[in-house]
Symmetry: C2
Subunit: 395 residues, 2 copies
């Protein structure tokens, strides 16, 4: 007798939590679960701003997948998905025969949203994954190393496009990194420029104003320049051109201004908005009862019909929920509707500073920074229990 085939695409927060859930819920031979991921590791997206600035090593932001799932229960395939064929119920891979599925979970993450800004994809860097952040770090260091040879100010000018969550957290890490970086390359600290450019009229749109002010004041005290209500019109090899024509020469431009869904999802024929799928209450793609979408590829709306921002917290809850629902489904049971329960948000500003809201309480400074670390530890705990927390966690 053949068992249902569940294929999970992507080992991000959503996919990994779904796999972990199925691993726990299902008995031997109830289903054949396959997890496909491009890399042999899961990367902790909420920490990528640290290795991107070089304040921590990228190995602290990744975990071997084999170390967090039971490969006796879950087939793990390291390969790149090239196409999703919904009618044939199969997934095409770069180096293998297509995979057949009965149930498909799409957790393929996001891609940068450029909002049509010219030259951005070609000339800017993106905080996306291990490969991209280690490249940012090395690029920046190379530019700093060139400075004493060429003495051009743009080599030590960094433009961060976007003052949302990732942008602000990255700027916070850069501030922490600069003293060491300047010592390494014999550069006076005051010569370095970090410029955060944001099109919206505020830093961290949607965040509590008092906390935003705290963050801006702190970062400005460390020399960060904010250009708010300032759209970037073009990104060139030399820097950025702002709306109105003013140019900022910068050898390093990092774009954090937004994400869209993975192109593969759009190409599959599923209806998307900016590449993201507006899922139903069971996290299903519209029109495809056997296809579920989690994480940044999905779009969940709140009661006022506004979309929740794509976060690790959302993806984690989706994955946890979907694991249980899928187990129920293959046993002929009922699925339960998904409801997102926001637990709070903390944005780090380097190692020792942060701002956050948990419940209806606001936190700043050391207390918020501590909360942020607790949240990181919680993810490790969900993935690998106490032993993983002890092995990889830092307070």
């Amino acid at each position: 007798m053949s068992v249902p085939k569940i294929v999970i695409l992507g080992a991000g927060y959503g996919g990994l939590m779904t796999a972990k859930g199925l691993q726990k819920e299902l008995n031997h031979n109830e289903a054949e679960v396959t997890l496909v991921n491009q890399h042999s590791y899961h990367y902790i997206t909420t920490k990528l701003h640290e290795p991107a600035a070089g304040t921590s090593h990228h190995d602290h932001a990744r975990l071997s997948i084999a170390s967090v799932i039971n490969t006796n229960k879950i087939n793990f395939i390291q390969d790149r998905v090239t196409a999703i064929k919904l009618n044939e119920k199969e997934v095409h891979l770069e180096n293998r025969e297509p995979l057949k599925y009965d149930y498909l979970v799409i957790g393929l993450g996001s891609a940068p949203e450029t909002f049509g800004i010219k030259g951005l994809l070609e000339n800017a860097f993106f905080i996306r994954n291990i490969d991209s952040v280690r490249m940012i770090r090395e690029h920046m260091e190379y530019m700093f190393a060139r400075y004493q040879n060429e003495k051009k100010e743009e080599l030590i000018t960094i433009v961060v496009g976007g003052a949302g969550f990732t942008g602000i957290e990255y700027v916070g890490e850069l501030v922490d990194r600069m003293p060491e970086l300047c010592r390494e390359y014999d550069i006076p600290l005051e010569k370095v420029r970090i410029i955060n450019v944001e099109a919206a009229p505020t830093v961290l749109p949607g965040f509590d104003k008092e906390l935003v002010d705290y963050a801006v004041k702190y970062l400005e005290s460390k020399g960060v320049e904010f250009l708010i209500s300032t759209p970037i019109e073009e990104c060139t090899e030399k820097g950025v051109i702002l709306k109105g024509g003013k140019e900022i020469k910068a050898a390093t431009v990092v774009w954090t201004g937004g994400v869209r869904g993975n192109k593969l999802v759009e190409e599959s024929g599923i209806e998307t908005m900016r590449g993201r799928v507006k899922v139903d209450e069971y996290l299903r793609a519209p029109g495809y009862d056997h296809v579920f979408v989690v994480g940044d590829s999905s779009l969940v709306f709140n009661e006022e019909e506004r979309p929740y921002p794509p976060t690790a917290q959302m993806a984690t809850q989706q994955g946890q929920h979907l694991g249980k629902n899928l187990a129920a489904l293959i046993r002929g049971g009922e699925m339960k509707p998904f409801k997102y329960m926001p637990k709070g948000t903390v944005a780090s500003l380097g190692r020792k500073e942060a701002i956050g809201v948990v419940g209806d309480k606001k936190y700043v400074g050391g207390m918020a920074a501590f909360l942020k670390k607790v949240i990181d530890l919680r993810w490790l705990f969900l993935l690998g229990g106490v032993s993983l927390v002890l092995r990889k966690g830092k307070l």
Copy 2:
């Protein structure tokens, strides 16, 4: 009564030893000695291949000048020499009034000799000083970091032009560095190419054949490719073009194929050969009795009228000799002719391998590597005695 002014240009091996000698020989107010150097530190040229590969930090290859000379006895000026005016007996500096001298010591080091190879100065890197080697290291790391993003083989291909001393020592360090570098950037070690290109018919021309064979065999066993009797015709943004037209694509090209004298010496009007001054037996420039030249700017011939290669050993002996001669001179005494006493040569091949000749004995492997370290320690001892050896030395 005014005392004679001695101005020393450059705090390399030659200039620094001259300054140290004068500091020791002269009594208070016998002369006014000024040492001019572009950086606040002396760099240990014989070690630069290590930070260039990233096997050791560049701080291990430099010493603060203030820590090795007595600035109560020697005036130290950190500035860049822009011109030597022999008729006016003055030296022009970038940020200060010209310096008057009665005796001038030129130890301004070397510049890359390109032998007219097109594009070399623009596109290759050079193992010259702290600024240049830290840039090589960061460039290489950035190229390796890009590899997982772009998957182009040339990003992890390194061409070293020249298989002389520096070239071979650098290749030896690269071999040592690669395992760590590949781990850092998730690159399979066997994919990296290190290609050493040499126009002459042998590696390490002039060196003992048996030792050369040992070095080549060792480096080849570590995957290094040698292209001997192969002149480089052009260096481009993409790599090198060999004589005959064959192209090697390489993101990192490091040229170690030779040096010439500093341009400032040529521009001063002193007669030079490839920018180097054929000094007389008192290390004087031809036609200028008060101008002495030491180190890579000078050219000393052996008894068969062949020039000695420019080495740290030569510069050190010149500086030691000149310090004594200058002290004698200002006291109205006789100068003694300089005679170079070669003490042997050791070329490192990474941390644990080397080849060398000391006296009439040949050394390979661990013993030679140990000798190399002893030579490094000797330089620290000459500069700063036992305390400096203990502070900065490594065995």
